[in-house]
């Protein structure tokens, strides 16, 4: 698969929203160590909200599908993560406004747009144990992949690899935002739950574009 058009994006969201709720307990436990343990439920409810919205998406272009998915997620599963995730998807979606398919070359810009949207909404900077700490390394990896002429599956694979590494690095960071921020140095040693969630989504994407490729 070299491009993700609207229909394929909807198909991907179908897979994603089917798979993510399975990580509920792991995310709940991680989030409980840093905060209130709701992230697993947030993801489960938010993913279901996207799933329920899928029927309304045919006819929309990919950018709008992303933006509406973010809004649907945060409508039903509003939370810190919900607001951040909605902002990320809306920013990424805006970046590809008018396009009828997402190509590998769009990916770095989309992820960068998501990162700056998130930073504007929540005021986080790199190294503060938020999803910024996976978005930025991922954007960098994608840039390198695109510069090297990688295929969409290869680029997605590399993005996931960068994510896994980045998540591991969040373990050593001290949280400054959200509930984790109240733990200060006690937050060190636990990976950032929101980043873990993003990483799981990227893994799902990489598998999707791989599986669908000829």
């Amino acid at each position: 698969m070299e491009r993700i058009d609207a229909a394929q994006l909807i198909a991907f969201l179908q897979v994603l929203t089917e798979e993510m709720p399975a990580h509920r307990d792991r995310l709940r436990e991680l989030d409980a160590q840093l905060g209130d343990g709701d992230l697993g439920i947030t993801i489960a409810i938010g993913m279901k909200a996207i799933r329920d919205a899928l029927a309304d998406f045919p006819g929309e272009e990919p950018g709008m599908i992303l933006a509406k998915s973010g809004m649907a997620f945060n409508r039903e599963a509003a939370s810190t993560f919900g607001a951040i995730f909605a902002t990320a998807l809306m920013s990424a979606g805006k970046h590809i406004r008018g396009k009828d398919a997402i190509e590998v070359g769009d990916l770095p810009g989309m992820v960068e747009a998501a990162a700056s949207g998130v930073s504007a909404r929540g005021g986080a900077r790199p190294g503060e144990k938020t999803i910024l700490d996976v978005l930025l390394p991922m954007a960098k990896a994608l840039e390198q992949q695109v510069a090297a002429g990688a295929s969409l599956p290869a680029a997605a694979q590399a993005a996931h690899g960068a994510c896994v590494e980045a998540v591991a690095e969040t373990e050593q960071m001290e949280a400054k935002h959200g509930r984790g921020g109240w733990l200060k140095e006690k937050s060190i040693g636990i990976p950032d739950p929101g980043s873990v969630a993003i990483c799981l989504m990227v893994e799902c994407l990489a598998r999707f574009v791989e599986g669908q490729s000829p």
Binding site: R28, A32, G35, D36, G37, D38, G40, I41, T42, A44, I45, N74, R75, E76, A77, A78, S79, T80, F81, G82, A83, I84, T87, R121, G122, H177, G178, R179, G181, W182, L183, K186
Partner: protein
């Protein structure tokens, strides 16, 4: 998980349904939202509207603070999770009586981001919005970083003060000022003995030993100051007040309102035992008690534990605290 509930995912909507059925004369839904309620007699023309909101599971926070002399509307989210910006916007627009809206809520990032989005949208609809955040939990960040502190039961004082000021006919700026005065003069600290269980999670949020307590825990189970063996109530109160008094600091000659709040399972008897000690400690410190509030003012589902909040009073705050207010979900002795 031992609960009298049906489908855990219907928990919030069924709660709201019950509240609406039980208190038909008091509440109405805000147009366009299942998760936002307002005063039955709202919007109150010409009065500054106070809109609050946050996660479910804390009754009387948030719905219980909607009423004359309190807030005008509240939007509530899933258990311990922020409401959506759509619901907050619905509450804001519905409650707006033409004199602007104060967003008054606890300093949690989810609520802040979502209320932020709602405020942006409200302003596009020509509703003037000001925001005041309650941040009373002394253990959640050092005093120099007050703006990172989270809110606990001190919300009560902010609602009571701001609500009374709005009822007096004050402008949006004046109401926000009163709310901020309540916020900066309130200090709280809690102690948890057991975890609660989020219905949809089905398991306790945290584990805690049969003989342990956690001092300073937040109302969603956020880690506190220290985990330790359960101590006698007097020692717990002493340690809590030590942190609270030193923080503002409260000083001899000050006059305060005291709130001893149950997190849910802790019975009133224990709150009164704690109040008894707090009364003695404050007396010893030369701090006068203007009024005491004892009961469930901000809960964490069925968590066992309690919190103490102090509001330092001046003449204005005293007048506003003593003003009439009413909500069917609040303990009687709130005004």
């Amino acid at each position: 998980m031992k609960k009298l509930i049906n489908d855990p995912f219907e928990f919030v909507d069924e709660t709201i349904e019950g509240v609406l059925l039980a208190h038909r004369d008091h509440f109405q839904r805000c147009e366009g939202s299942k998760r936002a309620l307002m005063r039955a007699d709202g919007p109150v023309e010409g009065k500054v509207a106070i809109v609050t909101g946050g996660g479910s599971g804390h009754i009387p926070v948030f719905l219980g603070y909607v009423g004359p002399g309190l807030c005008d509307a509240a939007s509530i989210g899933n258990v311990f999770s922020s409401p959506s910006p759509d619901d907050m916007l619905a509450a804001t627009v519905a409650a707006h009586g033409g004199a602007g809206v104060l967003h008054l809520y606890g300093n949690y990032s989810g609520d802040r981001m979502n209320f932020g989005m709602a405020a942006e949208m409200a302003e596009m609809e020509d509703v003037e919005v000001k925001t005041v955040l309650v941040r009373d939990d002394v253990v959640s960040a050092p005093v120099e970083e007050m703006d990172r502190r989270r809110a606990v039961a001190g919300l009560f004082f902010a609602y009571k003060i701001a609500g009374a000021r709005a009822e007096e006919g004050a402008t949006l700026g004046e109401v926000a000022e009163a709310a901020e005065a309540a916020a900066v003069n309130t200090r709280s600290m809690g102690v948890a003995l057991t975890s609660c269980t989020i219905p949809a999670a089905g398991e306790p949020t945290f584990q805690i030993g049969e003989d342990e307590m956690e001092l300073g825990m937040g109302i969603h189970g956020e880690q506190g100051l220290r985990r330790g063996k359960i101590m006698p109530a007097d020692a717990v109160v002493d340690e809590m007040l030590e942190h609270i008094l030193a923080d503002l600091p409260f000083e001899a000659g000050d006059e305060v309102a005291v709130l001893v709040n149950s997190l849910g399972a802790t019975p009133p008897e224990e709150l009164y035992i704690m109040y008894r000690r707090a009364h003695a400690v404050l007396g010893q410190a030369g701090i006068g008690i203007h009024r005491a509030f004892i009961g469930e003012y901000a809960t964490s589902l069925e968590m066992a534990g309690a919190s103490i909040s102090l509001l330092r009073l001046d003449a204005d705050l005293k007048r506003l605290l003593d003003a009439e207010a009413y909500s069917p979900l609040l303990p009687r002795a709130h005004a």
